[in-house]
């Protein structure tokens, strides 16, 4: 490793691996190092042995849970929107060929203490108890407006200026009740709190469109979400492979690695007696403790169960959104569930994750509304995590630091951060419409 590189990347989380894949394709000489002996950093998927090392140090997993290697437990649970930015990056880089995806069975939302499926087609919508008959008619007009809306075609605006009116005003225009607003804003537009109501309507309308396009992106989806077989930890590994295919060098299991600074500028890394130099250093916040600050805390429970979540039609994979108003909180709570059907747990086991932005000093109690939906659990682990952000943009000190993974349920902000880092590092935007050929067909 005692060589000179264009870029050294620290931590093999998803963001770092996408960056190193993109830069390697750009013909940069990349060295990618991780302190852990596994890929994924904060966004890894752990097997049972790794999970117990983390949450039950010293204890061995009980045999009733099945083989360790059958587990791929996400440390940052999220689903991919089928028409979202991550799918576009996967297609652009052709990394998609290293992965296999399956649809997520359903998305649910809590309303008045009960969970309901978010309708995925017209007949489900007709039967759904989420809205009364008259409300459904009003909502229908709203959805037709949103689907037809095309920024470049003023005819579709119907005299409304979405950049100037607030979302609350748009709801009012269509005369939608508060429950419907709650449903649209949190289960479709995927807002985490109600701040969007007083902001311009445009971003929310675009988010509803994204949800809708995702739902109809591939045949037979019952939710707008996809999830990779073997867990999200496959994503960073697939991008790391892209980097390696283009000559990137990977070194895992380097616990002593640290950034080397000269006159306050990052010039490479130190690893014991070894030094490697680079024009710039990229990494996750944990490698730059003096250059980041904590901007929030997420509390998360991980549960292993031998049954699906009750009232989800025996789904093997679901998301449940608990809008803040429904639980009397300031931010939404999310439940994710995946099973052996996605190869993330042993036969006949389900994994459930409950997470929210921490608001009190008693994190476990904060999760009670979500935990109550799960039914009996075999194992439960609770974790509070700091979300960090860089203090600077890297232009002065050549240290390009990613943001921690936020509480959103999908990867839109993850990819936004990557695209922003790419711009800061290379000085140009990534053109997601240009496709790099990677496959060699013989």
């Amino acid at each position: 490793m005692n060589e000179e590189y264009d870029v050294i990347v620290l931590g093999t989380g998803l963001k770092e691996c996408i960056i190193s894949g993109l830069l390697s394709v750009d013909k940069k000489k990349v060295l990618h190092v991780d302190r852990n002996n596994y890929y994924g950093g904060e966004s890894a998927s752990l097997n049972l042995i790794q999970l117990f090392e983390r949450f039950r140090a010293g204890a061995a997993p009980p045999p009733s849970l099945g083989p360790s290697r059958d587990y791929n437990v996400d440390m940052v649970p999220k689903f991919m929107l089928a028409n979202g930015k991550l799918v576009r990056v996967l297609l652009h880089t052709d990394v998609v060929k290293y992965l296999e995806f399956k649809a997520v069975d359903g998305s649910y939302v809590l309303q008045k203490g009960k969970i309901h499926k978010v309708p995925a087609n017209d007949s489900e919508a007709l039967r759904s108890p989420l809205m009364g008959l008259f409300e459904k008619r009003r909502a229908r007009n709203f959805f037709l407006y949103v689907q037809d809306y095309d920024e470049s075609d003023p005819k579709t605006h119907k005299g409304l200026d979405l950049n100037r009116m607030t979302m609350a005003e748009l709801y009012k225009h269509y005369d939608l009740t508060e429950d419907t607003q709650d449903f649209i804003g949190h289960a479709l537009a995927l807002h985490r709190d109600d701040a969007y109501l007083t902001q311009s309507a445009m971003p929310t309308v675009l988010r509803i469109k994204l949800y809708h396009e995702s739902l109809f992106r591939y045949e037979g989806l019952n939710s707008p979400y996809l999830y990779p077989r073997y867990g999200l930890g496959e994503l960073p590994q697939a991008f790391a492979r892209l980097s390696a295919v283009y000559g990137g060098t990977y070194m895992l299991n380097q616990p002593a690695v640290e950034v080397l600074y000269e006159n306050g500028v990052a010039v490479g890394i130190k690893n014991g007696a070894d030094v490697a130099r680079a024009k710039l250093v990229v990494g996750d916040p944990s490698y730059f403790p003096d250059k980041v600050r904590v901007v929030g805390k997420v509390v998360r429970a991980i549960a292993i169960m031998n049954h699906p979540i009750p009232n989800t039609d025996n789904a093997h994979s679901v998301q449940i959104i608990l809008p803040q108003k429904q639980t009397g909180r300031k931010s939404d709570m999310y439940v994710f569930c995946c099973s052996y059907a996605h190869n993330v747990a042993a036969k006949d086991k389900w994994l459930a994750f409950v997470s929210t932005t921490m608001e009190t000093a008693n994190p476990e109690a904060e999760l009670s509304a979500g935990m109550a939906l799960l039914g009996p659990v075999e194992e439960k682990y609770i974790e509070v995590r700091d979300i960090c952000e860089p203090l600077d943009d890297g232009t002065k000190d050549q240290a390009f630091i990613s943001k921690g993974y936020d509480a959103t349920t999908h990867f839109e902000t993850t990819v936004d951060d990557v695209l922003d880092m790419y711009r800061r590092i290379t000085g140009r935007d990534l053109d997601l419409t240009a496709k790099e050929p990677v496959t060699v067909e013989a």
């Binding site: 296999e100 978010v118 919508a125 959805f143 739902l215 591939y218 990977y250 496709k435």
Partner: protein, 202 residues
Amino acid sequence: MAAPLAELAQQQTAKLVLLGEMGSGKSSLVLRYVKGQFFDYQASTVGAAFLTKTLPELNVKFEIWDTAGQERYHSLAPMYYRGAAAAIIVYDITSPDSFTRAKSWVRELQRQGNPNMIMALAGNKADLEGQRAVTVEEAQAYAAENGLFYVETSAKTSANVNELFEEIARKLPKPEAAPRPPQGGIVLSENQQQQPKKSTCC
């Protein structure tokens, strides 16, 4: 011409991975098999660590994965061999260290890999008989003990290269009995975009 649907449906896609010490000849074996080429100074595998080859007689399409150099610091990602139907573990018959590394790969796959994976042990560079350091007997005994299919190959002369891959293709479980039918799998592609349907559900 496009293949008839029925034929496509029967064709089996099998992920095949190559593992083994740096320089044992993994890339050379793939290149010899897929393209019939050999280079005395095979450059590090850049840009083409994923090749496909179809064997129409056996109705098998191999997706062949090469390590892409992650092996150098023993930092190969587990996704590399996850879901693989077959693995070729390559060593260089002139290097005892490469044989030791091959054995550690066999252990790793037995521990972490797909239990139905077909494993082949290839003693490569068989053309360098004069510099042999690993005997056929030793390798054969080890392969027998561990239930591996064993063969000595030369990417240089092409000896046993086709035989190696074809024997693996023959050993693959028939599609009906395949351990992982990709039920509910979704193929992500650009051109699959449907016209966004009109719907009033959301």
